[in-house]
C-alpha cells in the first residue's frame, strides 16, 4: 500500500493502450451478465470484479483471476457497456502486466512440436491474436532452425493454428487435439445413430 500512486496497478493498466478507460467503471455489472464465457464456461468469471481489483491495486488476485486469462476478446460486452469502456482492452492490459511479471496462464495454450515444425508460417498468418512468431531456435537433433513459437500471454487457445497446420506440429493439449476431437465426434455420431 506504500508504493507511489504512479506505480499502482490501476496506473500501469491505464498506461497500456486499451486500458485507459479503467477508472470510468461504475460497477453496473452489465459486462458480466453479457459474457458468454461466464455463462458457458466459468461461473466465477467476472470482468467487473477484475476491474475493481485493478482499481484497488489487488495485484495478486487480479493476476490470478480467471477473467485475466480466459477473455477471448469477443467484445460482446463492449457495445453493452454504458460507460463505453473497452473491457477486453483493460483485461488484455492486466494480462500483459501479469505476463511481464512472469505469470503464466493456468489454462492451456497452443504448443509447438519443434521436432516436426517446418516454419511455413501458416499458423502465424491465421492466428487472430498475433500470438505466434517464427524464431530461430536450437532444436535437439535439428540444429539452429526457424520454428514457430507461441506467446502464452497472447494465446487464447482457439485452435486456429492447429487446424491450419499441415504437419500437425502445433496443437492444443488435452481434449482439443485432433485425435480427441475425432474420437469425440465418432462417439457423438454413434450415439446419434443409435
Amino acid at each position: 500500500m506504500n508504493q507511489p500512486l504512479t506505480e499502482s496497478l490501476a496506473e500501469r493498466v491505464k498506461a497500456i493502450p486499451g486500458g485507459e478507460m479503467l477508472m470510468m467503471c461504475f460497477s453496473c455489472g452489465t459486462c458480466t451478465s453479457k459474457c458468454m464465457i461466464q455463462e458457458k464456461l466459468e461461473p466465477n468469471y467476472n470482468p467487473r470484479r477484475l476491474i475493481r481489483e485493478a482499481v484497488f491495486n489487488f495485484e495478486e488476485s487480479a493476476f490470478a483471476d480467471e477473467t485475466t486469462w480466459l477473455c477471448s476478446a469477443c467484445d460482446l460486452c463492449y457495445p453493452a457497456c454504458p460507460q463505453k469502456i473497452h473491457i477486453s482492452g483493460v483485461i488484455t492490459a492486466v494480462k500483459q502486466l501479469a505476463v511481464a511479471q512472469g505469470k503464466q496462464s493456468p489454462y492451456q495454450t497452443a504448443r509447438v512440436d519443434e521436432k516436426s515444425c517446418v516454419a511455413c508460417g501458416l499458423c502465424v498468418s491465421v492466428c487472430p491474436y498475433q500470438a505466434i512468431a517464427l524464431v530461430e531456435k536450437k532444436v535437439p537433433f535439428r540444429g539452429l532452425i526457424p520454428v514457430a513459437a507461441v506467446d502464452p500471454g497472447k494465446c487464447m487457445a482457439c485452435g486456429m493454428c492447429s487446424a491450419a497446420c499441415r504437419s500437425t506440429s502445433i496443437r492444443l493439449d488435452q481434449e482439443f487435439n485432433d485425435p480427441d476431437i475425432v474420437e469425440n465426434l465418432f462417439s457423438w455420431l454413434e450415439s446419434e445413430a443409435n
Binding site: 461504475f26 453496473c28 455489472g29 452489465t30 458480466t32 457495445p79 460507460q83
Partner: protein, 628 residues
C-alpha cells in the same frame, strides 16, 4: 390548471404555437398561431355529444396509444379549457358531429388557423421534457416483447382515469402481473444514448413500487438499479418505506431481457453486484424507467426564442447556480424540466421563482442592463457611406443590431448583452463596447508590456470562464509562471485581432487566447466567433514564421484552475525553449508586419490620446520605481 383558467387575469391559449418572438425585454412582439379546432370555443359546452356521434377511432396519444379516441375528442376529461377538437387527419367529413351538436352550432368546419400578434412584457418557458424511446436498446426488447412497457405506459395503466380504469394488466393477455420488475437508467447514465442522470427516475420507480404494493400487497416487485439517488428531504425515508413494505432492490444493470414466446414470461439476466454472481429472474411484466430527454421540438423553440442550449439539448440558463430560472436573454425565463431534468418540488420552486422574476419586469418602467453595451460611431460606419457590410449584424448572438444599407448600424441597447462580438468582428473599428473600448484595452496592453515584453505571456481571458479559472488557480495555490500578465475582456469574441497584433508589435513573448468551452459560453455563440478568429490568427502566425507556442488558444472553464496553471507553465516552457537572441530577432522581424496591420489604429477615437497618457504614466512610475 382549472384555477388558472378561472383567474380573470390569466388567459389560457390552448392549441396555440409560438411562431415568432421579436423585440426585447418588456417589449416583446410575439406571433402566435391559434390552430383551428373546428369547434368554436365560445359555443362548446363540453357535453361530449360530438365524440359519441363520431364513427372514427384512432389511437389515443394521451393514453400512450393504449386505448383509442374519436376524431372529435378532448385529450382527457380534465382538459382546460374543455373545448372539443376535431382531428382533421382522421376525420372523414361525415358531419355526424354537426348533427349531434344540434342547436349549439359549435362545430365549424370552415375554421382556419389564426395568426395573432401580442405585446408581451416577459416570457416564461415551461415546455417540459420528452421521453427517451427505448426501442433502439434491443437488449431490453421494448416493442418486441408485449410485456415490456415504459414508465409512461405504466403511468397510464396505473391511473384510475387510464385505459384500464386503474387496474394493472399485462398487455399480452390482460392478466394481472404477479411479478414485476422495474429497470432504472434505461437510456440515462449511458454514454451510448443519454450520458446524464435523469434526476427523478429513482424516486419515480420507488413511487410506482409503493403505489402498486399498496394496491396489491402480494405482488413481487424488484427494482434493478446502478445507484439509488435519494438526495432531497424525505426521499431517503420514502426509499426506506419501500424496503419496509417488501420491495426488492437489486444492484446491477440488466444486460438482457429474454422472453418465452409461448407464455410471454420475461427473464432478466443481470449480475447481482452484492452477490457477485450472474442471476436470472422470471417476471410477468417489466417496466423500463426511461431517460428524460429534451422535447423533440426543443431546437425549434430555441431558435424561435433565441436562447442557447446546454450540452444534452436543454435550454441554457444564465447561471447554473445563481440564476437558474433566467435565460441569457433578458425577459425570458425558464420553469421546470425544459432547463434540465428535475422533479416536481424543484419544478414548482423554479416556476415560482420564474414568475417572480417575470413580475419584476412587468412592474418596472425602466430596466437595468449590464453597462458593457456596444456603441456605434455613426460617422465611421461604412454602411452609412453606402457600402454593404452588415458584419456586426451577423456577429451579434442576440440579434441586437439593426442593419440597413445606407444607414449606420444601430444597437438596440436593451437587447445588447455586452459580449463585444460585434466590436471584435468590425473590420473598420467603427463599433466599440463601453468599459472595454479599444482605447481602454490597448492602454492595458501597453502597460502590461512596458517592461521586458519579450519575457511576458499576455493572457487574454474572458470574464466568465478563463478569468475565473485564473482566479481559481490563484486561490487554490496552483503555481504558474510569474511572467503571465492577465487581461480581462467580456468574451473571447471581443478579443479583436488588432489587440493581438498590437501585443506582438509591442514585443510580447507569447499570447494566450482563452475563453469558455463552447457549451459554457455566456453569450450563446460568442465563443464560436472567438474560436474562428483564433484559428485564423493561428494559421496566419504560422505563415509569418512565428515560433510554435508563442500564440496559443485554450478553452478553460472557471473550474479548471489546474488547467490554467498548466497551460501558462507549458507556454513558459516553450518560450524558454527558444534561445533569447533568436526570440528577440523574431520579435523584431515580425514587428513591422504587425505594424502594417495596425495603420488605422490611431484613427479610432480616443486611442491616440489614451496611449499618450499611458506612456506618460508608465514612464513616471518606472522613473520613480528606479529612483526608489
Amino acid at each position: 390548471m382549472v384555477d388558472a383558467a378561472r383567474q380573470p387575469l390569466i388567459e389560457v391559449k390552448a392549441f396555440t404555437e409560438v411562431e415568432k418572438v421579436e423585440g426585447f425585454v418588456g417589449n416583446f412582439k410575439v406571433t402566435l398561431r391559434e390552430k383551428a379546432k373546428y369547434v368554436r370555443a365560445d359555443r362548446c359546452n363540453g357535453c361530449n355529444a360530438c365524440s359519441l356521434a363520431c364513427p372514427i377511432e384512432v389511437p389515443n396519444y394521451f393514453e400512450m396509444n393504449l386505448s383509442s379516441r374519436k376524431a372529435a375528442y378532448v385529450p382527457m376529461s380534465q382538459s382546460v379549457p374543455l373545448v372539443y377538437n376535431i382531428d382533421m387527419d382522421a376525420c372523414i367529413h361525415c358531419y355526424k358531429c354537426v348533427e349531434a351538436c344540434g342547436s349549439l352550432q359549435a362545430i365549424d368546419f370552415g375554421m382556419e388557423d389564426k395568426i395573432v400578434e401580442e405585446d408581451i412584457g416577459a416570457i416564461v418557458v415551461a415546455t417540459g421534457f420528452g421521453h427517451f424511446d427505448p426501442t433502439p436498446m434491443t437488449e431490453y426488447g421494448y416493442g418486441r416483447f408485449p410485456n415490456v412497457i415504459t414508465a409512461m405506459e405504466m403511468e397510464r395503466l396505473n391511473n384510475s382515469a387510464g385505459p384500464t380504469r386503474g387496474s394493472l394488466v399485462r398487455p399480452s393477455d390482460n392478466r394481472r402481473p404477479n411479478r414485476l420488475a422495474i429497470i432504472n437508467c434505461v437510456g440515462s447514465r449511458d454514454k451510448r444514448y443519454v450520458s446524464s442522470c435523469s434526476n427523478f427516475c429513482c424516486m419515480y420507480a420507488i413511487k410506482n413500487a409503493i403505489l402498486l404494493k399498496q394496491a396489491m400487497p402480494d405482488m413481487d416487485i424488484s427494482i434493478y438499479y446502478i445507484d439509488i439517488r435519494t438526495p432531497s428531504k424525505g426521499y431517503e425515508e420514502f426509499y426506506d418505506r419501500a424496503r419496509e413494505i417488501g420491495v426488492k432492490f437489486i444492484q446491477g444493470r440488466p444486460a438482457e431481457i429474454s422472453e418465452d414466446p409461448a407464455t410471454h414470461q420475461l427473464f432478466i439476466k443481470s449480475e447481482d453486484i452484492t452477490l457477485g454472481r450472474v442471476i436470472e429472474h422470471e417476471y410477468d411484466m417489466v417496466m423500463l424507467n426511461q431517460a428524460a430527454v429534451p422535447q423533440p421540438d426543443q431546437n425549434h423553440m430555441s431558435a424561435v426564442l433565441n436562447v442557447a442550449q446546454s450540452p444534452g439539448g436543454w435550454f441554457m440558463e444564465y447561471h447554473p447556480k445563481l440564476r437558474p430560472m433566467d435565460s441569457p436573454t433578458d425577459g425570458i425565463f425558464f420553469a421546470g424540466a425544459c432547463q434540465g431534468p428535475k422533479d416536481i418540488p424543484a419544478s414548482v420552486a423554479q416556476g415560482s421563482a420564474a414568475a417572480a422574476r417575470a413580475s419584476r419586469v412587468l412592474h418596472s418602467d425602466t430596466w437595468q442592463i449590464e453597462p458593457t453595451v456596444a456603441v456605434v460611431w455613426e460617422d465611421r460606419c461604412v454602411s452609412a457611406k453606402g457600402q454593404a457590410c452588415g458584419i456586426c449584424y451577423r456577429a451579434c448572438p442576440y440579434g441586437a443590431i439593426n442593419y440597413d444599407k445606407g444607414k449606420a448600424a444601430e444597437v438596440v441597447t436593451a437587447k445588447c448583452h455586452g459580449c463585444g462580438a460585434c466590436v471584435g468582428e468590425c473590420p473598420h473599428d467603427s463599433i466599440t463596447q463601453l468599459h472595454f473600448t479599444d482605447a481602454q484595452v490597448l492602454s492595458q496592453i501597453r502597460t502590461l508590456l512596458a517592461v521586458e515584453p519579450e519575457k511576458k505571456i499576455l493572457a487574454f481571458r474572458c470574464q466568465w470562464c478563463s478569468y475565473g479559472g485564473a482566479d481559481l488557480a490563484g486561490t487554490s495555490h496552483f503555481e504558474y509562471s510569474s511572467n503571465e500578465r492577465g487581461l480581462r475582456v467580456m468574451c473571447s469574441a471581443r478579443m479583436d485581432a488588432d489587440l493581438i497584433y498590437e501585443a506582438y508589435r509591442l514585443g510580447a513573448g507569447a499570447v494566450l487566447y482563452s475563453g469558455c468551452h463552447p457549451q459554457d459560453c455566456h453569450y450563446i455563440t460568442g465563443q464560436v466567433a472567438g474560436a474562428k478568429r483564433a484559428a485564423r490568427l493561428e494559421k496566419m502566425f504560422e505563415r509569418m514564421g512565428m515560433s510554435p507556442g508563442r500564440f496559443r488558444t485554450e478553452w478553460i472553464s472557471a473550474a479548471e484552475g489546474d488547467k490554467y496553471a498548466r497551460v501558462i507553465n507549458e507556454m513558459q516552457a516553450s518560450l524558454d525553449a527558444i534561445p533569447e537572441a533568436e526570440l528577440k530577432a523574431e520579435i523584431e522581424r515580425l514587428k513591422p508586419e504587425m505594424a502594417k496591420k495596425l495603420t488605422k489604429l490611431n484613427q479610432i477615437p480616443g486611442v491616440g490620446e489614451a496611449l499618450t497618457q499611458v506612456d506618460f504614466i508608465v514612464n513616471e512610475m518606472l522613473g520613480k520605481a528606479v529612483n526608489a
